[in-house]
C-alpha cells in the first residue's frame, strides 16, 4: 500500500502541474477545451490524492510499521478510533492531510464556481493547483509520508500523548482546513485580478468561501481553546502562544473581509480593499503554516515540527510578491461606484470594523516580531507574552464589541437621523441599567463594567430588531409569533445570520470578561484527609490512586468537593505519564456550571501529600456555548437566497 500511496501522490503532482499549464494556456488563448481539460485534471487530482490518503489510513489500520510515519505515530496498542488523529499527528501526514483537504475544497470551488466568476476561473484553477503542487513537491522531496524503514520494527512508537483527547479529532483538522482554505478565496481574488473587468465578478464566490472558511477557522480556534483548557492544565483557554497567534492572525483579516465584502455587494464599494484583505489573510495563513513547521519559537504546538520551515517562508514570500505585484498593477481598474455619505452610516462602521481587526492583527504581529527587533538592534532578549497582548488588544476588542452594537443599527447611506435615534434609545437605556446593576453588585473593575454594559447594549439592539420585525410580520400576515420569527430570519438570511453570529460574539465577550477579571486561584499542599477552602468551595483529599496501563501511568487524587458545606461531586484530578515520550499530561477535575467553573489540578504526589491548585473561573461555560451559535449563524447566512438580497426592507421601514 505504501508504494501505491507514493505513486498516487506523484501522479497527483503531475496532474496538478498539467492543470496549471493548460488552465493558464486556456485562459490566455480563450480556449474552452483547454480550460475544461484543466478543470477535469483538477477533479482527478483530488480523487487521486484521496486514494493516497486512504493508503495512509489503511497502513495505520493494518499496523504497517514498515512505513516510517506509521511506526513513529502509532503502536499496536493504539485505540483504533485514534487512527484518524494519527493521520495528521506528525509532519508528513499533516502535509498529506492539508494537500488532500485543499484538493477536495478546490474541486468543489471549481465545480460550484458561479457563472459570474467563470472568466477568471482558468487563473483561479491555476492558483489553486499551484498551491497544491507546492505541498505535493514538499512531500515528495522532503517529507514523504510513505517513506519506508530499512528494518520493520515489531511495534510502533505510539502517538504523541497530548493528542489523545476528543478535541484532537477536530481541532487540528479544522484549523488546518481553515488555514489552507484561505487559499480558495485568495485564488478567486487572483482570478479576479487577472480577468475581471468590474471588480465584482468574484463577489459571490468570495463571500461564500470567505464565510465557510471563517466558520471552520473559528471552530478550529475554539476547539483549540477547549483542548488547552481541559488538558494543558493551567486553568486558562488562551495564552497568546506564538502558534495560537499564528492561527489568530489569518482569522482577523478574514473576519474583516467577510464584513467588508457586504459593502461591495450592497454599495459597490471597497473593491480593491477586499482583494487586499484576502491577500493579507492568505499571507498570514501561510505564516501560520510556517510557524507550525519548524517556526523559530518554542511552543506547546511542537507536533509537526521539522527543519523545513524555510521552504514555507520562501513560498510565503513568493505568493505575497506575486499577489501584491498583480494587485499594484491592476487595482486602478477597480473603481468604486459609490462613496461614503456619513460617519454614521453602515459603510463607515464597516470601515472602522476593518481598521480595528487589522489593528489587532498588527499588534499581534508586532508582538511576534518585537523580540527579533530587540535582539537585532539592542542585543537584548525579551519576552512578549500575555500581559503585553492583553493590555494592547483588550481595548481594541472591546471597541469592536461596541461597534458591533452600533454598526448594524446604522442605515446604509444614512439620510435620516430619526431612524437612528429610535433604534438607539432602547439599547442605551438597557445598557445604562446594566451599568447601575453592576455597580450595585459591587463590580469595581471599570473595564468589566464597560464590557458588561456594552454586551447588553448589543444584545438589546439585536433583540429589538428581532422583536419589532416579528411583531410587524405577525400583524401583517396573521402569523403566530414563532412562525413569524422564523420567517423573519429566512426573509434576509445574510442579515439575520450575521445577527446570530453577533449574538454568539456577545456571549463570548461576556464569558471572556467574566473569566479574565473575576477568576480566583490558590495553591494548596494537602495530606490525605485534609481540607482546603477557596471562596464557597471546600475540597477534601480522600485518597490517591496509581493505575498502570500498557503505555502510560495514571496518577490521580480522589477528592470530595463541597459547596457551601453540601457535597457536590467526587473529582479525580491527576496526570498521566507516558514513559515512551517522557511526557506527562494533566487531567483537571472540572465542574462546569453556567455561573462558574470549579477547576482543580493535582500534582507532585508524595506518599500521602499532594499539591493542588484550585481555579474558580466565572462564566467560562458560555465560551463553549458561543461556538455552536457561530456555526448556526454562518449556516443561516449561507443558505441560498432566491433574490439577490438587495431588498433590505429594514433600511426603509420605519418601526
Amino acid at each position: 500500500m505504501g508504494n501505491l500511496g507514493f505513486m498516487t501522490l506523484m501522479l497527483a503532482g503531475v496532474l496538478a502541474f498539467y492543470s496549471i499549464i493548460s488552465s493558464i494556456a486556456g485562459g490566455k488563448f480563450q480556449s474552452a477545451a483547454l480550460t475544461r481539460s484543466a478543470t477535469n485534471a483538477s477533479y482527478i487530482t483530488s480523487l487521486i490524492l484521496s486514494i493516497s490518503t486512504i493508503c495512509l489510513i489503511y497502513a495505520f489500520v493494518t499496523h504497517d510499521f514498515s512505513l516510517s510515519y506509521v511506526a513513529n505515530n502509532s503502536s499496536l496498542s493504539l485505540d483504533p478510533k485514534l487512527t484518524w488523529v494519527a493521520l495528521y499527528a506528525g509532519n508528513a501526514g499533516s502535509l498529506l492531510f492539508l494537500a488532500w483537504v485543499f484538493s477536495v475544497l478546490s474541486s468543489i470551488a471549481i465545480w460550484k464556481c458561479p457563472n459570474l466568476a467563470k472568466p477568471g476561473l482558468p487563473y483561479t484553477t491555476a492558483t489553486l493547483m499551484f498551491i497544491l503542487l507546492f505541498y505535493i513537491v514538499v512531500m515528495s522531496t522532503m517529507a514523504n509520508p510513505f517513506e519506508k524503514l530499512a528494518i520493520t520494527p515489531a511495534d510502533g512508537r505510539g502517538m504523541n500523548p497530548l493528542l489523545t483527547h476528543p478535541g484532537m479529532f477536530f481541532h487540528p483538522p479544522m484549523l488546518m482546513t481553515g488555514l489552507i482554505g484561505v487559499g480558495i478565496p485568495f485564488s478567486f481574488a487572483i482570478g479576479q485580478l487577472l480577468s475581471g473587468e468590474q471588480g465584482n465578478e468574484w463577489l459571490i464566490a468570495a463571500r461564500y468561501w470567505g464565510l465557510i472558511i471563517w466558520c471552520i477557522l473559528t471552530i478550529g480556534l475554539m476547539l483549540g481553546s477547549w483542548w488547552a483548557y481541559t488538558i494543558l492544565g493551567w486553568g486558562g483557554y488562551w495564552a497568546w502562544d506564538p502558534v495560537e497567534n499564528a492561527g489568530l492572525l489569518p482569522w482577523l483579516p478574514l473576519t474583516a473581509f467577510i464584513h467588508s465584502i457586504i459593502v461591495q455587494q450592497r454599495r459597490n464599494m471597497f473593491k480593491s480593499w477586499n482583494i487586499a484583505l484576502i491577500i493579507f489573510a492568505w499571507g498570514f495563513a501561510m505564516y501560520g503554516m510556517f510557524m507550525n513547521r519548524g517556526g523559530p519559537v518554542p511552543s506547546v504546538h511542537s507536533f509537526g515540527q521539522s527543519t523545513m520551515g524555510w521552504i514555507f517562508l520562501i513560498f510565503l514570500g513568493f505568493n505575497l510578491i506575486v499577489a501584491l505585484t498583480l494587485f499594484y498593477n491592476k487595482h486602478k481598474k477597480l473603481k468604486d461606484a459609490s462613496q461614503i455619505d456619513s460617519f454614521l452610516s453602515r459603510e463607515a462602521s464597516f470601515l472602522v470594523n476593518n481598521l480595528l481587526f487589522l489593528l489587532i492583527a498588527f499588534v499581534t504581529l508586532w508582538g511576534v516580531l518585537y523580540p527579533l527587533i530587540s535582539d537585532v538592534f539592542k542585543g537584548v532578549v525579551v519576552t512578549v507574552g500575555q500581559p503585553y497582548y492583553d493590555t494592547l488588544t483588550g481595548p481594541i476588542f472591546l471597541s469592536l464589541v461596541v461597534l458591533m452594537g452600533i454598526g448594524p443599527l446604522l442605515p446604509w447611506k444614512n439620510l435620516n437621523n430619526k431612524i437612528i435615534m429610535k433604534r438607539f434609545i432602547a439599547p442605551l437605556i438597557i445598557s445604562i441599567v446594566t451599568l447601575i446593576i453592576c455597580i450595585i453588585l459591587e463590580i469595581n473593575n471599570i473595564a468589566a463594567l464597560i464590557s458588561f454594559s456594552t454586551c447588553t447594549f448589543v444584545l438589546t439592539g439585536i433583540l429589538r430588531e428581532w422583536a419589532t420585525g416579528t411583531i410587524v410580520r405577525s400583524k401583517r400576515n396573521n402569523e403566530i409569533f414563532p412562525i413569524a420569527f422564523i420567517k423573519l430570519l429566512l426573509s434576509n438570511k445574510p442579515r439575520y445570520g450575521g445577527y446570530i453570529a453577533h449574538f454568539g460574539v456577545v456571549i463570548l465577550a461576556f464569558s471572556v470578561t467574566g473569566s479574565s477579571f473575576f477568576s480566583l486561584q490558590q495553591d494548596f499542599s494537602l495530606s490525605i484527609g485534609q481540607q482546603a477552602k477557596l471562596g464557597e468551595y471546600n475540597i477534601q483529599y480522600i485518597s490517591n490512586e496509581t493505575i498502570t496501563n500498557s503505555d502510560s501511568v495514571e496518577t490521580k487524587a480522589i477528592i470530595d468537593l463541597y459547596k457551601n458545606g453540601s457535597f457536590v461531586s467526587k473529582l479525580e484530578p491527576g496526570y498521566v505519564f507516558y514513559p515512551g515520550f517522557n511526557m506527562a499530561s494533566a487531567r483537571a477535575g472540572i465542574i462546569s456550571t453556567p455561573i462558574e467553573d470549579f477547576y482543580l489540578i493535582a500534582s507532585e504526589f508524595r506518599d500521602d501529600q499532594a499539591m493542588f491548585r484550585i481555579h474558580i473561573n466565572p462564566l467560562v461555560f458560555w465560551m463553549w456555548v458561543s461556538g455552536p451559535i457561530f456555526i448556526l449563524g454562518t449556516v443561516i447566512a449561507l443558505l441560498p437566497t432566491k433574490t439577490k438580497y438587495s431588498n433590505d426592507i429594514d433600511d426603509q421601514k420605519k418601526l
Binding site: T383, G385, Q386, Y388, S399, I406, N445, A447, K487, K642
Partner: protein
C-alpha cells in the same frame, strides 16, 4: 460647522463621541485592575515573570522547582513590604529582561508599546480624513447646494416621507409575492 459630519445633527456627534469615549476609557482602564489581597498581588506578579528554564511559561504556570522558588521569593518580598516594581527589578537584575513576560515600559522597549498605539492613532486619523474627503468630494461632484433650511423644511420632509412610503410598500409587495 461641518466638523464631524455632512449633516450637522447633534445626535451624530453624541454617538460618535460616545464611541470615542468608550474606546479611550477602555484604553485607560485596561491596566488598572483592582488588586486586593497579598496573595492576589503575588499571583499577578507570578503571571508577569517567565520561568527562565522553561521557555514560554510563566512561573505561575510552571511546575518546576526553580519556578516554585521564585514564587516563594515573590511572596517573601511582598511580606517585607516591597513594591511590585522592586520585586520585578530584583528578578530582572538576576535573569535579564527576558524574565519579564512583557517588555518593560521604558527606554528602547517603549518602542514595543508605543508603535501599536501610534498606528492606532494614525489609523483613526486616516480613516477620519478618508471618510471626510469622500463625503465632501461627493457633495462637490454633484454640485449639491442644499441649504439647511431647505433640508428641514416641511416640503422636503414630506417628499422624503413619501419616497420612503413608496419604497416600503414596494418591498412589502415583493415579500408577499415571494410567499
Amino acid at each position: 460647522m461641518h466638523f464631524f459630519l455632512v449633516s450637522n445633527s447633534l445626535y451624530h456627534k453624541i454617538i460618535f463621541l460616545a464611541f470615542c469615549f468608550v474606546s479611550l476609557a477602555a484604553l485607560a482602564c485596561s491596566t488598572s485592575q483592582v488588586i486586593q489581597t497579598d496573595e492576589q498581588r503575588a499571583q499577578a506578579i507570578d503571571k508577569n515573570l517567565i520561568c527562565p528554564i522553561c521557555p514560554g511559561e510563566t512561573i505561575d504556570q510552571s511546575q518546576v522547582e526553580l519556578a516554585k522558588q521564585m514564587k516563594y521569593a515573590v511572596r517573601e518580598m511582598i511580606d517585607k513590604g516591597q513594591s511590585d516594581e522592586e520585586i520585578l527589578n530584583f528578578f530582572t537584575e538576576r535573569y535579564g529582561v527576558s524574565v519579564l513576560a512583557a517588555p518593560p515600559k521604558e527606554g528602547f522597549h517603549l518602542f514595543a508599546w508605543w508603535t501599536p498605539i501610534g498606528i492606532v492613532l494614525v489609523g483613526i486619523t486616516l480613516t477620519f480624513i478618508f471618510i471626510r474627503s469622500k463625503t465632501i468630494l461627493k457633495f462637490n461632484n454633484q454640485q449639491i447646494h442644499i441649504s439647511k433650511d431647505f433640508m428641514s423644511s416641511q416640503e422636503f420632509q414630506e417628499s422624503l416621507e413619501a419616497i420612503e412610503k413608496t419604497t416600503h410598500e414596494f418591498n412589502s409587495d415583493i415579500t408577499k409575492e415571494k410567499e
